[in-house]
């Protein structure tokens, strides 16, 4: 959901851990648990978890019945 510049070289569908100041990517990959562990090893235990969404994905969710 973050804008493209930081994520432009990361494949679609991967999870991304951003530094707490949102200025750099500290880890990325398909396995979220491993991405979080890699961020912790990099000294970013509060890394912001985002990802590279599919292009032009519909965002609205309106019903959970």
């Amino acid at each position: 959901m973050f804008p493209a510049p930081l994520l432009k070289d990361i494949p679609t569908g991967e999870w991304v851990a951003l530094s707490a100041d949102e200025r750099r990517v500290v880890a990325h990959g398909r396995d979220l648990a491993e991405v979080i562990r890699a961020a912790e090893r990099a000294g970013e235990p509060q890394a912001i978890i985002t990802g590279v969404p599919e292009p032009n994905v519909m965002l609205a969710v309106w019903h959970d019945a």
Partner: protein
């Protein structure tokens, strides 16, 4: 806590058949944290007045240990036509940076893996805050009620 002002996130969409030059969209997103059993996932979530409830990626729920894919679930429909994917619900703590934190019966679905963030909907978010949207000025305002 007084009303907080946030900037819309500018998102440049890639060119496609409908918008061959690409297009810029503005999204009201908030920095959030999902907490369960001593674990926390900081993330970003879309403020969505049209969503019934708060939803997060299934992978978040699995990593937090909040849900199991073998557990009871409901189904999810979207304005895109409905993926009919299961949604697993669990009581978690939702923290909104600058606003506060409270308990939410939130859904976790693989559909949300596709947008890599959360959705803040009527139940669990709008029933805890007052919000005003000012897209012409690229700002929105949120206050804990």
């Amino acid at each position: 806590m007084p009303e907080q002002t946030f900037q819309y996130l500018e998102v440049k969409m890639a060119p496609n058949a409908a918008f061959p030059n690409g297009i810029v969209r503005y999204r009201p997103v908030l920095r959030t944290k999902i907490k369960y059993a001593g674990k926390t996932i900081p993330c970003v979530s879309l403020v969505d007045t049209g969503a019934d409830a708060c939803m997060f990626p299934l992978d978040f729920g699995l990593v937090l240990g909040a849900v199991s894919v073998a557990g009871a679930h409901n189904s999810l429909g979207t304005s895109a036509g409905g993926d009919d994917l299961p949604v697993y619900y669990r009581e978690v703590t939702l923290e909104i940076t600058g606003i506060g934190e409270w308990s939410v019966y939130a859904g976790f679905s693989a559909t949300l893996n596709r947008i890599a963030g959360g959705i803040l909907g009527q139940h669990g978010f709008f029933d805890h805050v007052r919000a005003r949207f000012d897209l012409p000025n690229r700002q929105f305002h949120v206050e804990k009620s």
